[in-house]
Symmetry: C2
Subunit: 277 residues, 2 copies
């Protein structure tokens, strides 16, 4: 079981506050200490910081604080290895180029006996079920479309492909091309959209608070997605099991909720994930 | 005009010493201050550090020294922008996955009117002639081979493709998949193979010396490739114009020298590169 953190915003925003709490779960307040990764889109390029040691203490995680990077799309992951040894090749997020854009993917869950045939366009380098799922997902998209389709078509295709993959196990995942950020919830995933009027937020994993009003404009809109809420004094929304959403400019632009949505509580969601391992 | 640095070794080796001199040329001892990048293969994975500011002073370049990374294949580049604005998407080295392996490419030179048709497998994200050449190179390989061919076949194909590209201008480039490291010299490129008996080396760009004998074994073999020699008391070899070489385990395993090799002196080589811009 791993944990996910992602951000989609309408203005380049740093993730220092959220990442300060998230990284603690990588070896201090929680046990996800088999490496971490964080990918920042900077315009159409990606800056990827990764390490195979615990995020809480990795010098590569310190860089997030030391060299503040403002981005509109960020994907981060702390790993507790289930499939594939602890190595850089098995560390999320994974990156590939498709249609002349970089695509970033991170996964929390566990897929059993998921062995799709060798891709024509995309093949895994490491040995995780997660990278296999990412390559399968891109392969399916690339086989269908020679160039990037419109958002509604892309959302429908991603939804269908995620449905295929989740037959093999648990799939909480985030994927972004630096413009949209797509989320699939398999068990436990929350989000919050921070917008005016901005207030004070306090981390759940550290004694740090921030007044967002001091560093924002009334137009700013920042969606943060996380396995578990990162703050204890804000109202996070929970995705239902099987729910899919597409964010752009800090807002949800496409969404598909199951007909009878189930929202597991935190313990139930965590247990589901553990049982899937 | 940019400068290249690469390393291919038979044992994981850090590049702190060589990079300390090389980075000075990115804004201090030379003018290549439009960004830098360095890619380290760690087993089959890649760690890529890049910035759009001068390498000599970038905090991302400090990481090379602060977090020593041992690798058998490293590719670095300092940029003086010729085509494409200063941006992360236009910063070398570039990375793609092919045949289930990551491939890294960096280029020094300038290609004119090089506009190959849109690739099926690989498309540039940025706007440089260099990334276009990289995508073309991989596209040609992928179209020919569904999986990685043997080294001799790969060398012959890379040689042919580089010959095609160099019709459009100057092509000094380095490409690696973490196992082999391929070099094409279009104007100015040097190399040295450090092996027992190891001695003392002194940087050309800084007042730093190192005694390699203190941190090596008699079996170690480390090839370093650079646009211009990085040390002033070692015997660097110069590649001829049009020469190609493939390194593995710190040694040249394939090589093709032109029938009538030309070795320009430093000034002539630099002028050739400038004229091509």
């Amino acid at each position: 079981m791993c944990q996910l953190l992602a951000m989609n915003a309408n203005t380049p925003t740093d993730i220092i506050f959220s990442f300060a709490g998230f990284r603690k779960r990588g070896g201090l307040t929680d046990c996800h200490s088999d490496g971490f990764g964080i990918a920042f889109f900077e315009d159409n390029a990606v800056r990827l910081l990764q390490d195979t040691t615990a995020c809480a203490t990795s010098p590569f995680a310190d860089i997030v604080n030391q060299c503040p990077i403002r981005s509109t799309n960020i994907v981060a992951h702390i790993r507790k290895a289930t499939q594939g040894q602890v190595s850089l090749a098995n560390t999320h997020p994974f990156c590939r180029e498709m249609w002349g854009q970089y695509w970033i993917f991170a996964h929390n869950g566990n897929l059993k006996d998921f062995t799709p045939q060798t891709g024509q366009y995309f093949r895994p380098v490491g040995t995780t079920d997660s990278e296999t799922a990412f390559c399968y997902l891109l392969e399916q998209l690339r086989q269908r479309f020679d160039s990037k389709p419109d958002h509604a078509t892309l959302f429908a295709a991603l939804t269908e492909i995620c449905h295929n993959i989740r037959q093999y196990g648990l799939l909480n995942c985030v994927i972004s091309n630096g413009d949209i950020l797509f989320v699939h919830c398999g068990s436990l995933l929350h989000y919050i959209i921070r917008q005016a009027p901005f207030g004070v937020a306090s981390l759940a994993d550290d004694d740090i608070s921030i007044n967002f009003a001091l560093d924002t404009t009334p137009q700013d809109k920042v969606a943060v997605i996380a396995t578990l809420p990162l703050t204890h004094n804000e109202r996070w929304q929970q995705f239902a099991i099987g729910e899919m959403a597409m964010f752009q400019n800090g807002a949800i632009i496409e969404r598909q909720t199951p007909e009878n949505p189930v929202y597991p509580d935190k313990e139930m969601g965590l247990n589901m994930a553990r049982q899937a391992v």
